[in-house]
Amino acid sequence: MAVSERAPSDGGIAPEDIRAVPARHPRRWVATIVILYIVAGIIHFVATSPNFQWGIFHQFFVFNSIIRGLGQTVLLTIVSMAIGIVLGIILAVMRLSPAPIVSGVAWIYIWLFRGTPLLVQIIFWFNVQALIGQNATVTLPFTGLALFHVNANQLIAGFTAGILALGLNEGAYMAEIVRAGFLSVDEGQTEAAASLGMSRLQTIRFIVLPQAMRVIVPPTGNETISMLKNSSLLSVVGYTELLYSAQLIYSVNYKVIPLLIVASVWYLVLTSVLTLGQFYVERYYARGSSRQLPPTPLQRLRAMWVRNLTAFHATPPEVPTPPTGPNR
């Protein structure tokens, strides 16, 4: 090997490495101790206070009806979000349409569903048979031609009413998120697509939407978490999702706080799962836009592990870098 000017030391400390006495931060220590003291006090109170009745919590955490309610909450969230996303994309495309009636209708929809409280919309959909009657016939407007007959109580009740209320409301919010995503895509992209002879819809599908996803995904994650919690509003119309399942139990045994904690812990578990899922979806849509994708939590753990090991063995650290591009 040729002589290099300043050969990197193998394992040892390079002569120019600085080893200084770290600065002291007494105030940080005081703050840390005070906060730890307060937190410990709260934990002690929560854990030992008989009022929390952890035994009751334990008893009902995986209770049959709670798990059933949990399943309903998950199902409502997934289906309503799916409706909201599809509706949001359609409304966003409509709003950007050059035809004024098309964009106007989308605008009015968003105005109506975003402008009235979700709770009001929920009560509305659960009482909609009052509007259309028990047995309604859907006709082609102005023609009297019958399209189909519905039994309002059968069609719009329970689950259907729930996802209609949540999904139609969500569509209005998603439309604005999707529209913001579309607007974030550089105009040069649509011009390039146009110059290749692509139509408006092809451009949206292949060029604009995939790039807009980077802007759309983070707020959609927020919306999904909101949806998860907003689904508890259905408890007011007696829909047995997670919260109402807990309420049904405490209306009998009066153990209000423990059962609210049961529901809350489940909401927290679901929210954590969604947060993790959001990370991976964001990572997927980041491909191509950044040279190097952020490491997954697992990769970060492994990197930390390797770093500690190598520090221990005093060999040059070699942190594994995550692969670039999609790793399928």
Partner: protein, 253 residues
């Protein structure tokens, strides 16, 4: 020799500002026309009018015998439907100053997208053509690279391959080297020179006077929305007639 682009008195306004004030031009098949001029002279706008990215306000503009954006029926002009405009654009390749590659797709996917989706060609056939085009622009090893992983020069060469994969009969270049670092300009110009030698009809807006001299058949100098001077590049660069051309060339040479 047939005429590929014909412009008669083309005018274009943005609000109250008239950017094109009567452009007359004929580009013959296999010809390379180079347009130079100061910024704001309307040269890019004229280029964008040729594939209807901009709508002209008066005059006549046609590509390969078809009016751009309109159809003459009797003595009336009918606006073309969006679909027809797209079909015409599919026959004209365009290369942009800022490359405008699709960042969510690899180089190969960028090149393959339009022939498959717009022309409905077989994927295998397009793939072969795309690979040979990327090979031709010297990017055989980069086919799986995303635009963010490529240098500016490489991105622009992918953009040229993307336009060529549609097998256009006319190529438009809108300042293709203006956004590039100086040392990367050469590799893009080389690809364009080769394309010119192969007989592609090209309209090139550029500041590369050397390129104009080497491969241009006609050189246009535009200023203030009109063509101030036109001629054989070598003669015009060596001996410009109009004072504004003289002034401009003295600044860029």
């Amino acid at each position: 020799m047939s005429v590929m682009v014909r412009a008669d008195g083309v005018r274009k306004r943005f609000a109250r500002l008239e950017v094109l004030r009567g452009i007359d031009l004929e580009v013959a098949q296999n010809q390379v026309v180079v347009i130079i001029g100061p910024s704001g002279s309307g040269k890019s706008t004229f280029l964008r009018c040729i594939n209807h990215l901009e709508k002209i306000d008066s005059g006549r503009l046609s590509v390969d015998g078809h009016l751009v954006g309109y159809e003459q029926r009797g003595d009336k002009l009918h606006e073309l439907h969006e679909r027809q405009v797209s079909a015409r654009r599919a026959e004209i390749g365009m290369v942009f100053q800022r490359f405008n590659l699709f960042p969510n797709m690899t180089a190969l996917e960028n090149v393959m997208l339009a022939p498959v989706q717009v022309k409905g060609e077989d994927k295998g056939v397009v793939r072969e053509r795309a690979l040979s085009l990327l090979d031709r622009v010297g990017l055989r090893e980069k086919v799986k690279g995303y635009p963010a992983q490529l240098s500016g020069g490489q991105q622009q060469r992918v953009a040229i391959a993307r336009a060529l994969c549609m097998q256009p009969k006319l190529m438009l270049f809108d300042e293709p080297t203006s956004a590039l670092d100086p040392e990367l300009v050469g590799e893009v110009l080389d690809v364009m020179k080769q394309l010119a030698r192969e007989g592609m009809t090209m309209v090139v807006v550029t500041h590369e006077i050397g390129f104009a001299r080497e491969v241009g058949d006609v050189l246009l100098f535009m200023d203030g929305g009109v063509i101030v001077e036109r001629g054989v590049p070598r003669e015009m660069i060596a001996n410009p007639q109009h004072p504004r051309t003289q002034d401009f060339l003295s600044k860029v040479l």
